[in-house]
Amino acid sequence: MAESHRIAGAGRLIGARPLHFTFDGEPHTGLEGDTLASALLANGVHLVGRSFKYHRPRGILSAGAEEPNALVGIHRDEARRTPNVRATVQEVYDGLSAVSQNRWPSLAFDVGAINNLASPFFSAGFYYKTFMWPKAAWAKLYEPNIRSAAGLGVAPHKPDPDHYSSRFAHCDVLVVGGGAAGLAAALSAAENGARVILCDEQANFGGAMRYESGARIDGLEGWHWTQDTARRLSEMDGVTLLTRTTAFGYYAQNFVGLVERVSEHLAAPGDQPRERLWQVRAKRVVLATGSIERHMVFADNDRPGIMLASAARTYLNHYGVGVGRAVGVYTANESAYRAAIDLKNAGVDLRVIVDLRDNPAGAVIDEAKGLGIEILPGRAVTAVGGSLRVRSITVQPKTGEGTGRQIAVDALLMSAGWTPSVHLFSQSRGKVAFEAGTQRFVPGTYAQDCVSVGSCNGTDDLAAAIREALAAGERAAKAAGRSGTARLAVKVEASESWSAGMVGTGPGAGKDTKVKAFVDFQNDVTAKDIRQAVREGMRSIEHVKRFTTNGMATDQGKTSNLHGLAIAAEMLGKDIPEVGLTTFRAPYTPVTYGAIVNHARGKLFDPTRTTPIHGWEERHGAVFEDVGQWKRARYYPQAGEDMHAAVNRECHTVRQAAGLFDASTLGKIEVAGPDAATFMELLYTNQWQKLEPGRCRYGIMLREDGFIYDDGVVGRLAHDRFHVTTTTGGAARVLNHMEDYLQTEFPDLSVWLTSVSEQWAVIAVQGPKSREIIAPLVDGIDISDAEMPHMSVREGRICGVPTRLFRMSFTGERGFEVNVPADYGEAVWEALWAEGQKHCACAYGTEAMHVLRAEKGYIIVGQDTDGTVTPSDAGLDWAVGKKKTDFVGIRGLKRTDLVAPGRRQLVGLRTKDPKTVLEEGAQIVADPKQAVPMKMIGHVTSAYWSENCGRSIALAVIEDGRDRMGQTLHVPMPSTTIEVEVCDAVFFDQNGERLHG
């Protein structure tokens, strides 16, 4: 019968639109406003999953975000298949398709249940002690099988097609939690002029009023007062109300992360984002996060049909669902009595209330008795019958005397008390305090501008909670600088308030027992696991937690933490506060990657930087490579060419005729001021004072520890102006390095640093014909060898626009680098290209650039150096000014290790077989026959096929490399060992004549 457990006239979904959904392929009906959990329960379905380790049948424990058991997969379509969704949170929409997890072949008959029988092998910490032998079995047997058996849900196999929204928000007061206390605080703050954001994780505001039936506030029934207050708030300017919104993380200085589920509950989300991330900076935060009910810890307390008492109350009073037809209660406090009374009044057969306390007394107990409910005080539930559903309970006196009495039930409600939700308070770095009288942790010392109100603050009485909240809201508004004068008063005429309860195991599941009394349902942690941890030597609660994984599942121990703590404390013989509480971490409940990553996907993952000449390069078929965030042309394949063919042609052409290369990505810094040369002398190893304006020098920059940090050609434009270049990847950090020293070490120097990397487009024209190519276009500069020798810089015009023209070369050919203001880059390139065509010049990319410079033994910082290479190692000692008294790195260079013999020095390598190209990073040894591990004496830093040399070339750093010229060394590779000969790092044009034309 459809919705067999929906009770006519009960709940708040009366008259709601009916809808259809499926669970494991079975069709069901529900009502709009149902969660998947309430709809399943309405249809009498309790079995919803199989537990993580033991594959025990599991049902629905709660009615909220603390749910550890009812995790299902929600499938919208091929791409949208979300695992591990809590059925108690997912609202039903028409056509929803849900599947259970972690079972095969079916929920009712799951082969994995064999784990339950083998459970002695799977006790706490078993993975530290098993699957170790034989060692070889790990890769092929253990790991693949563990991987497929592990986990609960199945990850989607297609990219996420949804989009997510994000916004920052600032407010005066952020109120987290929209129950009675939260609504009161928000109202009070708003009435006092504050801009308020109020959020609640449920679809409606109301909090505990969803299930409490005995509250009366300002003449209205509790729930109605909350709805009315929410309506009042919605009509106020400056108040933002967010439902379906979880505050998941409390960060520094009142920065709180919220995630709003925008369309998860809609059958047709349309264009809406799936979720919205709110990053809120609040002047004051009010935490009204309530309390979470604890379950009772007894043998087999995990059977489907056994749930929290307040959950059953919620299903009845809000959703109109009776969770069973013969319901029992097991408790140690009064709130469960109220659940029993509500169910009884709704016509459900309430079989028994088992109360662990000897003499429970009070109005609510009397009321229960008056309704004819049997109450058994001083008793414990010591056994549970049923597997796929609870069928009976065995009740025994606490003292353990006598045989148990078996009572048939199809649902058992339990309550061990209420745990204040101090998660966000704890995340804010506040320190909790332990209330011994009520055996709970409450907020103690605050670390941020926030306040807790209501039951999360240990204030159980409704009237006191509302008073506290009103005062907190008013205070928060004032502290945020608002000057309101509203002092609200709210009259609580009737309320329910609960305190006390118990923590830890009841009789029958205590220290000497071996029953499976579950503490953490999601990770299948039982009381005996925790006791075992202590027996095995875990003393700190942090160790007990990690050894047993108690509290480490996606519910982060919401129902289990305090129980686990109490059991550990009992074993250790300590008080609970001495054992301590583990740290709560964001997120409070799981947050999707989509919400966090948000728009930063695909093309928006990282900014893409392109040069002004990028368009031309694209149109001419360039294949690009990523250099940091830059797109650089790597090579220009012509018809039928692969990369090697293209690069070989480009390298050949540059040395035969000429080539054009886009060098715009390199860093450029203008160093200007009267003390510019002094500053340059301090930051680089070189001499700069005597460099004439119009000349260039290759500069080496070190870190303070003496290692090469960056390099680049520097042109002196004037006495007080240097045009400094850096590597592409080093531009930002070189400028940062310079600014650091200028601002904090040498602040008295009169010099200014300006990044001009993006202001200048740079076109390298390299090759024997380079001068012929630029000559017709250059104006106002004598570019003859005599007037513009290698390593000089001139200012003038090219194609009618200003230029800084450098005579410099990274290829070893005669060459120029044409710097023009970036906006002219493409046009000047086109003009140079047109000239170049007359001389059979080509365009070449970064790959050819790498090969050409390697042929000349020019290093690339970051390729041939790795942060542990000194100038001397790299053969660049000539660049260090010997007479200088100070520069960054001068003392570092003198450290004993940096001057010791045996350092790895830059050399060239020729493979015995000239066709073999070495692999960059390959290790080098002297004796290839030595035992493994071999003594590695160096590694290959750069390796290429050189068309110009007709053979492979390589650069390497090798211990005492310069003393090994002509030596044969070996490069062991997985399949073979390659013989190499140490040689000079310069492979082409040893004398460097081609530079000068």
């Binding site: 520094a252 004051r284 406090n333 009064e334 306390r357 003499n359 009070g362 109005a363 003292t399 353990g400 005397e401 770095r429 320190k431 909790v432 209330e435 011994a436 009288g437 009520t438 103690g444 010392t445 670390a447 501008d449 306040v451 603050n457 204030t459 159980d460 009485d461 006191a464 008073r467 205070r475 305190s499 006390a500 309860g501 195991t505 009841g506 059991i567 404390a569 009992e570 074993m571 013989g573 300590k574 008080d575 001495e578 301590g580 509480l581 583990t582 740290t583 303070e704 940062n736 600014e739 650091d740 601002q743 904090t744 070490e745 602040p747 001068i890 003392r891 570092g892 003198k894 450290r895």
Partner: protein
């Protein structure tokens, strides 16, 4: 996300605009070539990494680009002060009281209860103090406290209940107040383990600081 007050821009900006730049006040010797190996090693590599008061550098990279210094509590990430490069290092005693204010304050044991209360009025709570904003005090000449510090010093927010509790007369109790740092485990005491259970009866006439005694549930008790 931290909010950091840039002493040059004169306002608080989000962490995204800044880059951390290591420990502050590590001077590069003016005669660096004469530095001994030990001193140079310390200059390059040895850092304090204090739990508590930290003196560090920041750069307002995506702002004015200036380097400046800050004093921060590495436990709470609370910034006490930021000041311009070149200004002298503030004395740690200025911040000692503020750092101590966020240390846990001892909570005396709550009142003993008989049967769990049916309708607790205001449950008797131990006095719980809310940490007042750190008192940065007056500004010494030359140093600028961020605006937020001034505002905090003025508005000492505290929830009503805690304030009311603070007004209670101090209890005379011989026993030491128990530490409340719930995240630390203290050395093991020799104690008879008791079954954790409901808080059961002991007369309320006992000294309030005494721990609640729970009657062990043993087989054989009537």
């Amino acid at each position: 996300m931290l909010l950091i007050h840039c002493p040059y821009c004169g306002e608080e900006r989000p962490e995204l605009e800044f880059r951390h730049a290591g420990e502050a006040h590590i001077a590069r010797s003016k005669a660096i070539t004469e530095t001994s190996d030990e001193d140079f090693e310390a200059f390059l590599y040895l850092r304090a990494n204090t739990k508590g008061l930290v003196y560090e550098r920041w750069r307002h990279l995506h702002g004015c680009g200036r380097f400046f210094n800050a004093v921060r509590d590495s436990v709470t990430d609370r910034f006490f002060i930021t000041y311009k490069a070149g200004q002298p290092k503030p004395d740690p005693s200025r911040f000692a009281k503020a750092v101590a204010a966020v240390e846990p304050i001892a909570i005396e044991a709550a009142v003993v209860v008989s049967e769990p209360r049916l309708q607790p009025a205001a449950p008797a709570k131990a006095p719980r103090k809310v940490a007042a904003a750190p008192e940065v005090g007056g500004e010494p000449a030359g140093l600028m406290a961020p605006d937020i510090m001034r505002n905090r010093a003025k508005a000492k927010g505290a929830p009503e209940a805690a304030l009311a509790a603070e007004a209670k007369p101090k209890r005379k109790s011989p026993a030491k107040a128990k530490p409340v740092d719930a995240t630390k485990a203290s050395p093991r005491k020799a104690r008879k383990p008791v079954e954790p259970g409901i808080a059961e009866s002991e007369a309320a006439s006992e000294a309030p600081s005494k721990r609640i005694r729970r009657v062990p549930v043993k087989k054989g008790d009537a």
